[in-house]
């Protein structure tokens, strides 16, 4: 029996905020829990379809009260997606992000459909040897170490050449990268006890250099993530097919410097550690996750000049919902 079900995934991840990639998670009433945001080791049941949406609302700290110097105020990274279980061990996903990057009055705000992404995920487990995820598993099978490798990329469907009132292009405000990006990763998940699940993710996001309409060439810095999460099943009501988990994630993010015209940019890149507490509830075939993510440690390259970047958020509100058909 595949007691499992649902959930899912991933994220708008971003340096100056327009990267969108995907990772996945799933769980049933008594099976492994899933993190709020990190990728986890659940594949979709064969032949099933997952519908997914996510909002990552980033509220930035501001430092300059002068209205003549508007700063980044907030951003909304919306994502809609669909997944399909081609086999018990291979799932494919397609995501469409919609980004809003809002400055204080007088600034340069942008919004629009960003770069769509495709992702494939292979699931395997360790049970007296490594095996691809089989079609049928018991709850006891779900207690085994489980892993996925995933990879994918974006297609340049967003607009990389949005111009402000003065006709200038700010690549960080664009809704597209201009060229495909790629994402690869590895997850590991283990039920530590009937109510406790641990999850880890290592992933990398890379970009290509793109020549903008103004002739400048920009290559965003690569991202490396190391995430760890614990999920605790607090409440289960089998009759109502309801489950409530408490989750706590730690997310380490290292971002390389951006490069413009071959030169490394100042005020870009650095390291951030986020803490993300949240809850995930399951009701029949629907799963909803809510959490608030805060940077608790930062080592940005030029922190004072990196307003509006990762690590300079006041908080990020994470909401996702998914349904499995």
């Amino acid at each position: 029996m595949r007691v499992l079900l649902l959930i899912a995934l991933l994220a708008a991840r971003s340096a100056l905020a327009h990267h969108g990639v995907a990772g996945v998670g799933a769980a049933g009433l008594n099976g492994p829990g899933a993190p709020i945001e990190s990728a986890t080791s659940a594949t979709l049941p064969e032949g099933s379809v997952l519908g997914y949406m996510k909002l990552d609302h980033a509220r930035y700290r501001t430092f300059d009260d002068d209205p003549a110097n508007p700063e980044a105020k907030y951003a909304n990274f919306w994502m809609a997606g669909v997944g399909y279980g081609f086999t018990p061990w291979f799932s494919g996903y397609f995501f469409v992000p919609y980004n809003e990057k809002i400055d204080e009055p007088g600034g340069f705000s942008t919004r629009g459909v960003a770069d769509v992404s495709l992702m494939g995920q292979v699931g395997f487990k360790y049970d007296r040897g490594f095996h691809l995820i089989p079609a049928s598993e018991s709850l006891d099978d779900l207690e085994d170490w489980r892993f996925t490798v995933f990879g994918g990329g974006t297609l340049p469907t967003g607009n990389p050449n949005l111009r402000d009132a003065n006709g200038n292009i700010d690549p960080s405000k664009s809704t597209g990268f201009g060229k495909p990006s790629y994402n690869i990763g590895l997850t590991a998940t283990k039920m530590l006890a009937p109510r406790w699940t641990a999850n880890a993710e290592l992933s990398h996001l890379g970009f290509q250099e793109y020549t903008y309409a103004d002739g400048n060439r920009t290559k965003f810095g690569p991202e490396y993530r190391a995430n760890a999460a614990l999920a605790y099943r607090t409440l289960t009501d089998a009759d109502r097919k309801f489950r409530l988990d408490l989750c706590l994630e730690g997310q380490y993010l290292r971002i390389g410097r951006d490069r413009t015209n071959g030169e490394y940019d100042a005020a870009s890149g650095g390291k951030v550690f986020y803490v993300l507490p949240g809850v995930r509830l399951y009701l029949d075939k629907v799963s909803v996750a809510i959490g608030v993510k805060k940077p608790v440690w930062t080592d940005l390259n030029e922190e004072a000049d990196q307003q509006g970047s990762e690590g300079r958020e006041r908080y990020r509100f994470i909401f996702s919902a998914s349904v499995l058909f």
Partner: protein, 216 residues
């Protein structure tokens, strides 16, 4: 209702086995021992140490006795028709119970394994039956056991299997499910499925089975 509703088990002594019913090994509450009509035991199979499978005549008195030590012993029971009203469950056909909302026929097998062999890795009956595919006596708490569910001698898909009364999974297309043993001592695996029927006395036949062995 399910296999959990009838908790049969064998107790072994130096001369053979006693078939008992009750809640000694149950995770749900109830009387330790619940008497049953000895006539519900329809057949007994004994797998001898040499690999021969023989039918034994049980001693028809409560509690039913099997006077032989076997590598594996299996009893097939049929406790007859049951009906449920809004207030109670009675051991009568639905056609005889006023206000019955559902009725079923309960058929079960109970198997105890005491010695492992290749023959013990095959089903002993045509009823619903759980069979270990690996030596269960080599298990340690925390290990998983591959269990095969068969009905009419063939693998049965989608059979819910419980360990100590806790449903852990259902069999796949090959009739197999992996179940983790959690402790030493008496191991109780149970399973059931329902077969729809159209007859005045019942809506369905509930096929249940229990697999039992001891782990030191």
């Amino acid at each position: 209702m399910s296999a959990h509703a009838h908790d049969y088990w064998f107790e072994r002594d130096t001369k053979g086995y006693t078939l008992l019913q009750g809640h000694v090994h149950s995770t749900h509450a109830g009387e330790a021992r619940v008497p049953y009509e000895p006539s519900i035991v329809k057949a007994v199979q004994c797998l001898r140490a040499g690999g021969d499978l023989v039918a034994l005549a049980p001693v028809r008195a409560y509690p039913v006795r099997i006077e032989e030590i076997c590598a594996a012993v299996l009893a097939q029971t049929n406790s007859g028709y049951w009906s449920q009203t809004l207030g109670e469950t009675v051991n009568k056909p639905r056609s005889e119970v006023r206000g019955a909302v559902r009725g079923w026929l309960a058929q079960e097998t109970v198997k105890r394994i005491d010695a492992w062999s290749a023959a013990a890795a095959r089903p002993l009956s045509e009823g619903l039956e759980l069979t270990p595919l690996d030596d269960p006596f080599a298990l340690k708490p925390g290990d998983k056991l591959r269990v095969l569910a068969t009905w009419r001698g063939k693998p049965r898909r989608g059979v819910a299997v419980a360990y100590d009364g806790d449903t852990r999974g259902a069999t796949g297309g090959d009739g197999v499910v992996n179940i983790r043993v959690r402790h030493t001592g008496v191991q109780i695996f149970s399973a059931s499925f329902e077969e729809s029927v159209r007859e005045p006395n019942a809506d369905k036949i509930v096929h249940g089975t229990i697999l039992q062995f001891d782990l030191k």
